[in-house]
Symmetry: C2
Subunit: 509 residues, 2 copies
């Protein structure tokens, strides 16, 4: 229930203030700053942390009130957090009006899930619609995610959530019937097959308009790595131009903003470190549907320090991905891969880009595991898209890579995205040596990734870790296991301290 | 995992900034404002919404980062939200240091609950400890509350949560063995029995150090009503002085800050409107234990627009309250009462206070239902505390009220709390009349409460609703059903508009 003042012209004027930009970045949380003693707070009875509807021109959002005491704002002024400022298309000095929001019907459906009811397709649609409109506070988002994890989502609910996420955003369409895509169920540093796979697929005449993410908790996302080699912040119009010309692209998904509902949920899932299978499946598949894909291969690394830790977990997740894919009309295959150690040598944007270039050019430094994995994935896609007979896809992919056709295509894609660039080397390097001789028996992927982050990746492109051994290798005392790369001595020191206090990251027996 | 820089003296200096107060009130959320381009954010890699450990002198809290662009802060400056400023005992220009926080072990226990594990006593203790220390963000708090509601708390977990909430705060001790308390499972406007019950009990020589809440979503809490008659913002020392002298008090619980864990959880439960039985039981009983009570009567109004809506709900809740009470050593009885309509005539602080005074003085306006309910509750307590034989408690309470002893005691308590005061009348009044003749068949308590709030209660003490009929009464067209009281014409207009658009609040057939 709420005050209906805004419906009455008489009080309408009383609820406006003028905007002043304070420049406060609250990440995704819409906040309105108002003086405690302003006439709007007094007349509407607003207190701190209350959720209100904020209108600027024709734009409306729900925001959380932060009250201000003292002279930060004049009595007739209000301010907005940066995300609210952008969403409302606000301008300095503009008029803002504030009112009690209408109750959100979808919250009662969310509560019903908390208490054990199933969510129907219509419920999911309404919830995702309100999420995308910014009507859910972090408290509501967290409750939704927790309720779905605690109560679980059955197959029908997962399908409903997947479709609702797609409907709540834009959906791309392409000229071709077969649109190829790949996804990796994260957690493995250096696993940068995407640029190679896209180049091979596009060189074979198929369409692969790939959107990738930036790192959030990892030392590099595919978009970060690709950005070392070409611009990736393309809008949909530019992306389409690249794909029309070259059949493929590798751009940052954040620029084209597919599945905004998913972006919002993922942010809160990360803060909670709660991750339910139903939500993971809906997240992956909704992004692919929104991107207009028809044909998808999923790389699923399995290993004790990867995201999927066991075969039974892999079985369950693969079954759910395939079953929901079928229901939403995606042709999907899952490839389980070795998740016991990083792929390639580089961990960090520039170091990974160097691996990619080495594979294209077949230099002696080219990491064999990265090459083989890219060929496996590309081979499966070529078969799924009927570009090669069953059993012949991998060989077609290999020929396309070894002939130089993929490298030529990759360069053309980079040029179309705005011009090819070359990786820079880091100023500071520190090799980490084996304490004792023996055989490498295990690698802690998570700690290796953390060391790369402390060295500055992904903000610092050249920073990261060069992984210079493999499980099973025999090493002598003093052999280099990996090398820290950073731009400053301070960052090298951070990373070194972490490595020292979290040894052994690479276990030698 | 986190950067360990702060453990090394070498980088310690690098992470400090100087404080400037901006005066931003984020309610209970600790926020630190830092410039995006300050050396701390750059060197530590902090981004917006990241949780950090903030230290000022010996005080430490966990806060959420809001990054600032532009000149709101100088490069060497940081600011804190008002709650963080208070908790850290910060001062203008003082030094603040910021670091990555240690991981919270209790979050992994919370996640285990999400995934269906039971929470042991030790888990509950650790979680409540971290909640009180401000280490949980709203996202974490919401997840905990939702997980407990979705998975449910069994009896052992509810007992564990109750005890953990007590341990996480202070616990009062009093000279006597028997400490009497009462609680009402809210939702019924005007049900202001507490001042009458406390006065009767104290007049009978028992000890009843009552802490009450202020309104959060209702038009008046007991503390708001009592504040019309005497100061209620007493600290523990002052409260003890009143109780030592008079045997009873009615003070605001917020001043003495019993069960801070509960205060934090309740704030998020309200935002979610999620309310699980286990948490409700733990919330009520932990507050009583923390207040040092031994003997408790619970008023449980049952009615379709009250908090407890049905007899089956009442049965379940009463069973749980009694069972957990026994386990934690509280002597508890539950009295089910009529929750179909408001108690007394007044809804709003001053109007309710007038009802209380009328009952004490037995004037002709004294509402019989308020008097009877207070006598019922006091009678039960007198028997539980062995001040009266079974069956004779109510009569003892009646004699104490009718003899004027309770009134004398009440005045003495008011004087001891800082001096008795008298209610003011509202400047604006608007009677709401029956549209047609007939019999009153139902009252929507929730809407009546909302009308009182829109009229200005509880911030405006004289504002509210005077409820002037009863279910079963025969009314003629034009008879007054209730009267709106407000200090300004604008507030009367707000309330009137709401009443018009939500009719009938009182149903006449």
């Amino acid at each position: 229930m709420h005050k209906n003042s805004s419906q009455s012209g008489e009080y309408e004027l009383g609820s406006t203030l003028h905007l002043r930009r304070l420049g406060i970045d609250t990440h995704e949380e819409a906040v309105i700053y108002m003086r405690r003693d302003c006439h709007v707070c007094r007349s509407e009875g607003f207190s701190s942390h209350v959720r209100v509807e904020v209108n600027v021109g024709d734009e409306a959002i729900i925001a959380t009130i932060n009250l201000v005491e003292g002279d930060l704002l004049a009595p007739h002024e209000a301010s907005l957090s940066e995300v609210a400022w952008r969403r409302l298309k606000a301008r300095e000095g503009g008029v803002v009006s504030v009112r009690h929001p209408r109750p959100l019907d979808s919250l009662s459906r969310m509560r019903a899930k908390v208490y054990g009811q199933r969510l129907l397709d219509g419920d999911m649609t309404q919830i995702m619609h309100d999420v995308v409109a910014g009507r859910y506070s972090d408290i509501h988002l967290s409750s939704f995610i927790t309720a779905c994890a605690a109560r679980g989502l059955d197959r029908t609910e997962t399908i409903g959530l997947t479709k609702a996420m797609v409907v709540a955003g834009e959906r791309l369409e392409w000229g071709a019937d077969v649109i190829v895509d790949k996804h990796c169920v994260g957690g493995l540093p250096g696993n940068r097959t995407t640029p190679i796979v896209v180049a091979i697929i596009a060189a074979c005449g198929l369409t692969m308009p790939k959107t990738s993410s930036r790192a959030i908790t990892s030392p590099a996302g595919t978009a970060d790595t690709m950005e070392v080699l070409a611009p990736v912040n393309l809008d949909i119009v530019s992306m389409r131009r690249v794909v029309d010309k070259e059949g493929g692209c590798i751009v940052w998904g954040g620029s084209v903003s597919l599945s905004p509902a998913d972006d919002t949920l993922i942010r809160v899932e990360r803060a909670l470190d709660v991750d339910s299978e139903g939500q993971l499946v809906a997240s992956v598949l909704s992004k692919k549907l929104a991107a207009g894909s028809s044909t998808l291969v999923i790389d699923m690394p399995v290993g004790s320090t990867a995201k999927v830790r066991s075969n039974s977990e892999a079985n369950r997740l693969a079954t759910s991905l395939l079953s929901v894919s079928q229901a939403v009309g995606l042709n999907t295959r899952v490839l389980r891969t070795d998740g016991s150690q990083p792929v390639g040598r580089g961990i960090g944007p520039a170091l990974e880009a160097l691996d990619v270039l080495a594979v294209f050019n077949d230099t002696k430094e080219a990491p064999g595991d990265l090459r083989e994995r890219a060929l496996d994935l590309a081979g499966i896609l070529l078969e799924m898209a009927s570009a090669a007979p069953n059993g012949a896809g991998r060989e077609y992919a290999r020929r396309t890579l070894d002939s130089g056709a993929a490298w030529k295509k990759f360069q053309a894609i980079c040029e179309a995205q705005g011009g090819m660039r070359h990786p820079n080397a880091a100023a500071q390097r520190l090799p980490i040596l084996a304490d004792s001789p023996g055989r490498v028996v295990s690698v802690d992927n998570r700690r290796l990734a953390m060391a790369a982050k402390l060295a500055g990746a992904p903000e610092s492109k050249p920073a990261g870790v060069e992984f210079q051994t493999r499980i099973g290798a025999e090493v002598a005392k003093g052999d280099v296991l990996f090398t820290l790369h950073a731009e400053s001595r301070g960052e090298i020191a951070y990373a070194k301290e972490y490595v020292k206090s979290h040894s052994p990251i690479i276990e030698v027996e």
